[in-house]
Each structure stands twice: as C-alpha cells, then as structure tokens.
Amino acid sequence: MLRFEQVSFSYGKRVVLNDFSFTLHDGELLALMGASGSGKTTILHLAAGLLTPTSGKIESDFLPPAVVFQEPRLFPHLTVRENLAAVQEKTDEKAILDALALMALSEWADAYPKELSGGMQSRASLARALLFPTDLYLFDEPFGALDEETKRKVLTNLKAFLAEKGAAAILVTHQNEDAEAFAKRKFFLTTAD
C-alpha cells in the first residue's frame, strides 16, 4: 500500500500540492489525471523518492518503484539490450527478450537509442521498467509518442504483465480513453491554487 497523508509540496514559492491525500492499494491500477501543472508528475516523483514533501507523510509497503519518465531517458552510449540489463542485478537474457517482445522491440535489441524513433525509445523505456524487480510501477505519460495501434497493443501487454505479477501501478495521462483502458479507478487533480 502507498499512502499520501496531507502531503504538500512547493517548488520555491510555487505551491504544487496542498494537503494532498490518497491511497494506492496492492495490485491496484490507478489513472492520475488533471490539467498541466496540477502536480501529477510531482506525485510520481514523490512516490519514487526523487522529491521530499514540504509537509505531510508518505508511507509505502511497496518495493522501490520502477519509473517510466515522460522522456525515455535511455543511456545514449548503451544499446537497447544494455539499457534494459542495466536495471537488473544479474543479467537475465530471457527476461530481457521477453520484455522487448512485450513492447514489440525484439528486432531493435542491439540498436542504440539514437537509431530509434521517439515511440520506440518510449517502448524501450517501458521495457526497462518491466525488468526492475518491484511491485509498484509509475508511468508518466508513457504513450505520448506512440501511434494508436501500437499504443493499444502496448497497453494490453502492459496490463497483462501487471496482472500476472499482481503489481500496482499509477498511470499519469491526459487521455481519458487511456485512463479507461488502463485503470478501474481514476483520480482527478485540480491545481493547488
């Protein structure tokens, strides 16, 4: 379980979250929606421990989460396969190939990020997250660069993967149909001010 209790967060004087509370249960898939600047990414970064709340409390029984950032953030000097292996403690070649297959990237394992399109890089970033040993996944608008057909395929595979693992996930998205397809519960954020 992940619990935010009256969490506030500011970037300097700009208040992004004000007394924000919510709970994510084990195995739950949640879609986080809201206008730009409403604090969706901040919530993911707080949950990942990349930011510390100005006030309030964050409690988690989950393992350290895997995060898919808005940008793919792949290591440019490593191939796709090497980028994926980087998050594993011991290289598991089969798991890497499975993750690549789930994201329809099997043929691009030995390509460098600069050789991939934006959508492929996003999928490689998703595949990398799936290899991290965790029970909580945080996805920050990961489908932005994907075409409709690929997005549907990736969403289906992603949901099947999470269901099989019994893992929880938060998906930040602007698209209502993505939220509907991914999660049973949707959470709408309004701006702090």
Binding site: G49, R73, F75, H77, A86, V87, R128
Partner: protein, 257 residues
C-alpha cells in the same frame, strides 16, 4: 592511397615552412643569431650521435612526465573530492584561479627559492597540469545529465554501475581534452623552468647555455628536440588513452549486460 596523399600533403607543408625558414635566414643574414635549417639539422644529427644527448633528454622527459603524472593524479583526486563535497570546491576554486593566472616565471622563481633547481621543473609542471585537469573534470562532472542521474537513483544503481554508466561516459571526453592541453603546456612550462633553474644535465640547461654562448644552431637543435619529443609523447599517450577508454567503455557495457 589516402595515407600516401596525407603523407604527401604533410611533406609539402613541411617543405614550405623550411622554405620560409631559409627565406628568413637569407634576409637576416646573421648565421650566429639565426642559423640555416641545414646547420640545425647537422647539429641535431651530431647530438643524436652523442651519448649525453640521451641522458639529457631522458632526464628532462622524466622531470616533465613525473610532473604530468602527479598533476593528473592529484587533479583527478581533487575533482572527486570537490564533486563529493561542494564546500571543498568553493575552497579550492580561488586557489586554482590564482594558479592559472599567475605567470609561470613567478612560480619558477618562487619554487627555485624554496625547492631548489632539481625539483623546480617537475613542481612547475604539476602546477600547470593540476588546474587544467581539475577544471575539466569538474566541468565533466557538472555536465552529467541530471535526468540520467534520476534514472540511476530510481533503479538503485550501485556505486560501480553509476561510475561506469553515468560518470565515466560524461567525464572521459573532458579528461581527454584536459590531457591534450596539459601535455602541450607541461613541455613549455617544464623546459622554461629548466632554462631559468638550470638543473644539471637537462634540455633547458642546454638551451640556456646555448643562448649564453650564442650557439644558435645548438639552441635551435635542442628546441627542435623538445618539439619532437612533445609531439611524440602527446601522440603516444593520447593513442594509449584512446585505446584504454575504448576498452573501458566496452568493459563497462559488458559489465552491465
């Protein structure tokens, strides 16, 4: 074919410059002050036949390489320290600025007073190399992509994985360019220190003596020796580093797979 073209081009440029040298020699028309290229080449070949030549160049080479090695090593250590403790960076930054802007001659004279003639060339070389290596590495460390830093944090990279995948790839180009600048300047400063300090049996002392006794062919021949040595050392070291970096990069990749 490409190599032949390159060699041909190089030879043509060299011939052109030797032509310029001859032209100046003819205009100056003072062989005692400005020797002809053939006189310098003859003197250099004479020197190459003398045993003392190798002892002298060996000593200067050791003085300068020792300074470069210590300067590079302490520059690396210091940049690691200032990256870990920002306050240490604030403390050392003014020192580095002072070292960078102080005239080399001032250092040479100061060190000559405190450390003696024998140690001055190496110490001056250290003072020239250290700030270059430190500032370049400092810049390389600052340029590590903060977004990739977050990836390393989220995915709980170990320290060694962080170094291999995050730090080294960002820092290596800066390290390589620091070495290039440092090596060139190290020769200039090291030999200048030898000329002023006149430690026994070094290239700088030979240049100093040649100047004193107006032996221009000697002066030019020793200067040419410095240029050739500097060029050879720079080429060999940089090729070696390139090879090591490539090997390291490959190993880093394999370690992560």
């Amino acid at each position: 074919m490409n190599l032949l073209k390159k060699i041909g081009k190089g030879l043509a440029i060299a011939a052109l410059w030797i032509g310029v040298w001859y032209a100046i020699w003819a205009i100056v028309n003072e062989p005692l002050l400005f020797p002809a290229p053939h006189a310098v080449a003859k003197r250099l070949f004479e020197l190459l036949g003398e045993r003392s030549f190798y002892a002298i160049t060996g000593k200067s080479l050791w003085n300068i390489l020792k300074g470069v090695l210590i300067g590079v090593f302490s520059g690396c250590l210091l940049s690691a320290l200032t990256a870990l403790i920002p306050l240490a960076g604030d403390f050392f930054r003014p020192f580095m600025t002072v070292v960078k802007t102080t005239p080399v001659a001032s250092f040479i004279i100061l060190l000559l007073l405190f450390a003696g003639a024998a140690k001055t060339p190496s110490l001056v070389t250290i003072l020239i190399v250290l700030p270059i290596v430190w500032s370049n590495l400092d810049e390389g460390l600052r340029r590590i992509d903060p977004k990739l830093r977050e990836v390393a944090t989220v995915y709980r990279f170990s320290t060694s994985k962080r170094m291999k995948l995050l730090v080294f790839p960002s820092v290596l180009p800066y390290f390589s360019s620091a070495l290039k600048s440092a090596l060139g300047l190290a020769w200039k400063a090291g030999v200048a220190a030898e000329i002023i300090a006149m430690p026994r049996g070094t290239i700088g002392t030979q240049i100093g003596n040649a100047k004193l006794y107006l032996e221009s062919a000697d002066l030019f021949a020793w200067t040419l020796t410095v240029i050739l040595l500097s060029f050879a050392i720079e080429s060999v070291l940089l090729k070696l580093l390139e090879h090591l970096f490539e090997k390291g990069r490959r190993r880093a990749r394999h370690a992560s797979v």
